[in-house]
Amino acid sequence: MMPADVSMQTAAARPGLRARLPDVPVTVLLSMVWMVLMILVALLAHWLKPYTITEMDLMARLQPPVLMGGSWAHPLGTDQLGRDVLARLIVSIRVSLSLAVSATILGVLFGGIMGLLAAHFRGFVEQLVLILIDVQAALPFIILALSALAFFGNSFLLLVFLLAFYGWERHARVVRGLALAAYGQGYMRAVEQLGAGPGRLYLRHMVPNMGATLVVSATLAFPEVILAGAGLSFLGLGIQPPDTDLGNMVGYGRTYLQTAPWVLLCPAAVIVLTTLAISMLGDWMRDQLDPGQRA
């Protein structure tokens, strides 16, 4: 009875989603367009950028963008060293997005495994995971990140791991709850009694059932990861020059707030639009998944 129940849900969702596509709100469509654009820019950064990010044109420092009376040689103007803002922006989008995507995936994986472990073993292991969740919730991310970056030095890999820790406890809670609920449903016991090992049980049956919820949970966490990464770089603790990311551009552009606000405003606008777009997509996806939980 229960397995039929579950498969009916997914079967109903698939044609439903396609049929509803014309009714997708304009804001969500715009968000999708923006995200596709960002992903394309990130993927094609090497071919799109008009200059390299370190190429300096000392004769053309702090040039304004085209709209503020600049020239087409530097459509978004140049920074204090005469580096092209558009080129740096394109590369920054690539760096920031890949950082956030890998951190989010890692966070979901880690949180998911912890949640499954807690639900599978119960007892002592579950208490341990719950305490780890408590510890993570009690240690504000920024302080954790500050200490780790100051002590272990700065590297892209460490940043990815740090940002992955940001929010893993939420995914762990979600997965633990879903797994506990799944045990209560007949299909898990049926598969188990048919002789499936834990690997098959979890990977083939339980995780696919959680998939949609996990994707939404990751999408909702994604903008926060972007903001956290940008915040760290803004403080000068994230991506280090000569490399660049969106937060780092805002952080260094801050010095020229008065004379060349575009150096700061361009990356700031990209951060805002991207987080806005993903938040809207995430909210919309959550509503599609569970109309009862509209927020």
């Binding site: 408590d134 403080l235 700031a268």
Partner: protein, 306 residues
């Protein structure tokens, strides 16, 4: 209830202990404070003297034991940088941070919860759309961007407000607005969904059906029930008060605890960093615990379950 309380307190204490232990290990094992403070060229004799003075030559577990026993007596140790008492150094900065955090939290809670309630009561209508658009944008604009744009407008162009520092009351306006906007945006979304969930309940329909005026239904039946998740959220925010302003403090050069953390982490002032971590984690754990207890008080069903 007593068992629930006891378990809750034990888990809170354990959490704080793990934070203290993790911070201790991370700070003591990854580098030598003597080298950082005295410089890489310091003569070995000076380094040894520094180690002896601060007890860094003892085995790690002995150091941790004496640190814990000091901690339990309320001694947070002395700053390795200038020998000041770590606790008083930290609390002085905490006070400065709270000067902007408290008004910001109050403003954020009042506007956020208010906007969320208004939006829920006008669900689907233009007012709701406007509030939600504001809330989503408020969430998407990072504090440092919002702050810098305000600096650009009000400090650089209009020159109405100082761009940073804490010399005058005018300097508090922009940091408070920046922090409050972020909180209000989160709370508005949260309150709205909590309110909508409650408004869909049968007892609300019963209330209006039995002839109660709508305001009575909202005030007496909807609001108290919607308050429960919202209070949890506010509890989280109170717990994060101390650490929440690191970035904003940097934007407005506000000399609060954020700046102290950044500077003492980079100078490896172990006692100060640990003191901050303990205070921050304790605030978080205690406020989470208070929220749990408030739950029981607000919702009798929880009391029986716990």
């Amino acid at each position: 209830m007593t068992g629930f309380l006891l378990r809750r307190v034990l888990r809170a204490l354990l959490t704080i202990f793990i934070v203290v232990l993790a911070a201790f290990l991370a700070l003591r094992t990854t580098s030598d404070p003597a080298i950082v403070i005295l410089g890489p060229d310091a003569p070995p004799a000076a380094v040894a003297a520094f180690h002896e003075a601060w007890g860094l030559d003892r085995p790690l577990w002995v150091q941790f034991g004496s640190y814990m026993s000091d901690l339990l007596q309320g001694q947070f140790g002395k700053s390795m940088l200038d020998g000041q008492d770590a606790l008083s150094k930290v609390t002085a900065r905490v006070a400065v941070t709270l000067q902007i955090m408290m008004p910001a939290l109050l403003l954020g809670v009042v506007t956020g919860v208010g906007a969320g309630i208004v939006a829920a009561l006008h669900r689907g209508r233009p007012l709701d759309r406007i509030v939600m658009l504001g809330a989503v944008s408020g969430f998407a604009v990072p504090g440092f961007v919002f702050g810098l744009v305000m600096v650009l407008i009000f400090a650089v162009n209009l020159q109405w407000l100082p761009s940073g520092g804490n010399d005058s009351w005018q300097a508090m306006i922009m940091p408070i607005l920046t922090l409050a906007t972020g909180w209000a945006a989160i709370l508005a979304r949260f309150t709205r969904s909590a309110m909508i969930e409650v408004l869909d309940q049968p007892y609300i329909r019963t209330g209006s059906a039995k002839g109660l005026i709508w305001r009575e239904v909202v005030m007496r039946h909807a609001l108290p029930n919607a308050a429960i998740p919202v209070i949890t959220m506010i509890g989280f925010m109170v717990g994060g008060l101390l650490a929440g302003a690191v970035v904003i403090e940097s934007v407005f050069s506000w000399p609060g605890i954020g700046q102290l953390i950044v500077s003492s982490v980079s100078s490896r002032d172990v006692a100060v960093v640990q003191c901050v971590l303990v205070l921050v984690a304790t605030t978080m754990v205690v406020s989470n615990m208070i929220v749990d207890l408030l739950y029981g008080w607000l919702d009798p069903r929880m009391r029986e379950a716990g």
